[in-house]
Subunit: 232 residues, 4 copies
């Protein structure tokens, strides 16, 4: 396995996901409004809260024996710490009255993503989590059309897009670091296969989360109640 | 919330699942063969291996403070210990040459189910896992048509169905115990909502596992390679 | 290594401990009173609360792969569940007004014993904890003189000695089970050495706990304040 | 509670420890030789290997909710990562042929210290581990006489003292950071009491480790065998 093959697999999976009927709907003019974005920010808050934690968890393992890799994990965890507050900040700037205490609980699919990331961080090969970072850091290039739709299509102000803009900017730097780490620390066939499995697995679970958010939005459009009480 | 409402929710979800197009295909005469059952046993081995462990995990928690409930968890874990060997035994009796060491690794959806069960056992309300037991112990009444198809439709011999037959038999006894435990130990609104969330969540993740097994079977029918090398 | 050598080592360590100057003082007529016993019950409550939990923890490990041993751990955990309440019950029957909520926190040495037992249950060889059970189940034969002193010397009533009397009775049965388990499940040199290390380690830490209780008692006799406020 | 009182308590405990008969022996001209230092480096390797890990563990907790404190933990863990290799390096420069794989296992007292630090990092108040950092970072001022004895008394070369010299240098900087963190993050009475308890507890367990090293050295002087085979 090589990083080129990993990348080819990622592009193949992304290509598949881009044909999702939900995505078409989302990009259809007039279908969505800022409440979908609000719901998404809420779930983003929930999983982001755990990202630095499950990243740090890798560094606590007795079998994370490569000192340079252990440092990478801690540095990366440090950079991710507190990013959930950006999602909350954006939600407030979107005009909703929420706080850490009044936010609805995570959706089942968000909880599943969180569970999976802790699980692989604790029990798979210590390098496996790089498979998540690999696509997560690069995802901002794929979601450009979505971001454009948010700002142009439904008029989300810049001050409510700090989470995405910030992450797009630190993108280039991080992508390079993750690629370098994969080249440096992923050696055996089992390691490569763990990285690939986690890349695909976490991507699918993230897509499921986005699909459940979309379903909730459709329920809301139909006038049904959801757990997002703050949307009124 | 009451156990009657929990049951109504379960029946509603089961009703939904029974309309799955994959299930229709499976029950269609001549479509499936014993390789589908073999794949399913393989995944059953993988998640069952963890069931006693995540059940015991609940008993290790400092905040599992009800002594009677702690005893229930340990007794239940004790009863589940080693059941994965029945699935392996059935796989062998089906005519396949497998062992603990040569079994293919779990599918991504199986791994996700396992991750979720550990997650809720460690981090949700201590009683949350009862939501999984609630439907799992009762599932055998729902899957009777599937079992009939296995034995009559594709001629799986009785000696390769010990896992299901055994679990159907201990069914009645366990169902009662789980119901009694729910009545005894689930008190607050948060507890009830955790039980319901885990019931639905683990049911959906189990269905996803069955769907992925079905997809793998379809790949095999089309002559593509799968990770189930033992199927030849 | 054999169980005979393990036993010889235990007797050697017990012999050493029996020459402790604190023990001499304790057995000296008129030196101690029931407050020492009350302090000891309080610490017994604290570590016993964790015994079933750290025993169950062994069964949750992925590398506890022997099914019979896993069952032993769960059965043993089940038998230990809730025993801390006997210590609390004895404390009340001794005439003190305490409850789970008003009990003073564990001493530093009690906390250390608890930390050690979780640590070895999670990270040493899965069979290592048998080293703790080995001496703990047999300790009641060694502490007979102490128990006699409690009842005859300082007049502790029978109803305040249920923890010790109960454990003395289940002693014979358990001792046999633990010995049988050691013979059955401890195989490699590393396993034997882990069992021996944990036997000696947990014995020493338990002795330290008893020494700290004794120091606290001496402070109390000198009129200094301790954390055992319920002693008045 | 204030940091001044914490400091007063530390000085009181240090004062007590400085009257240890073992310490007197160690400082007695001609009694010790570089084998004692080698044994100590070996145990230092073992507990230091876990320091960054148990520090990072604090940051993985869901209830470590203060983002600034979480960052402090990760930064501190990052700075500690790999320091065990300095101890190993010093051991080699002392003239002994050892490697990560051939090093003897930790002493029982070293294992206990490690167990305690993981325990409090996972289960005490999230700020409790600051109590360990507080004295550990400042310990180098207390052990100056010991270091002088090492270099002047038994002629340990500078190149075999990198662990201590390095830590003495980063001392001033870290001490300030830890004090600032205590002032910033330790608020409630329970937090202060957890910090104090961990300060005293970890100091005592470290002293016990040094005492066990000393006992092992005495055994060696008497010609008895120890687990430090590399000493010849």
């Amino acid at each position: 396995m090589t990083i080129e093959k990993l990348n080819a697999r990622l592009e193949y999976e992304m290509e598949n996901l881009s044909r999702s009927p939900n995505l078409e709907k989302v990009l259809e003019p007039g279908f969505v409004d800022k409440r979908l974005y609000a719901m998404y920010l809420c779930e983003t808050y929930h999983y982001t809260l755990h990202n630095a934690r499950n990243q740090a968890l890798v560094a606590t393992r007795r079998d994370t024996s490569n000192i340079q890799y252990m440092k990478y994990c801690l540095k990366h965890a440090l950079e991710e710490t507190g990013h959930e507050m950006m999602a909350l900040h954006d939600l407030k700037n979107l005009g909703f009255d929420v706080s850490v205490d009044t936010l609805p609980k995570p959706l089942m699919s968000t909880e599943t993503l969180v569970a999976y990331l802790y699980h692989i961080s604790e029990h798979f090969s210590p390098v496996a989590r790089l498979g998540y970072s690999y696509w997560a850091e690069r995802s901002y290039e794929f979601i450009q059309p979505l971001l454009a739709m948010l700002s142009d299509g439904i008029g989300v102000p810049k001050k409510a897009m700090t989470f995405f803009n910030e992450h797009s900017e630190i993108d280039a730097k991080h992508t390079e670091e993750v690629e370098e780490s994969i080249r440096r620390f992923v050696k055996s066939d089992e390691d490569w296969s763990a990285v690939e499995e986690v890349m695909v697995g976490s991507l699918i679970l993230t897509t499921r989360m986005m699909d459940e958010v979309f379903d909730q939005f459709c329920k809301l459009k139909e006038g049904k109640s959801t757990r997002y009480k703050f949307l009124g």
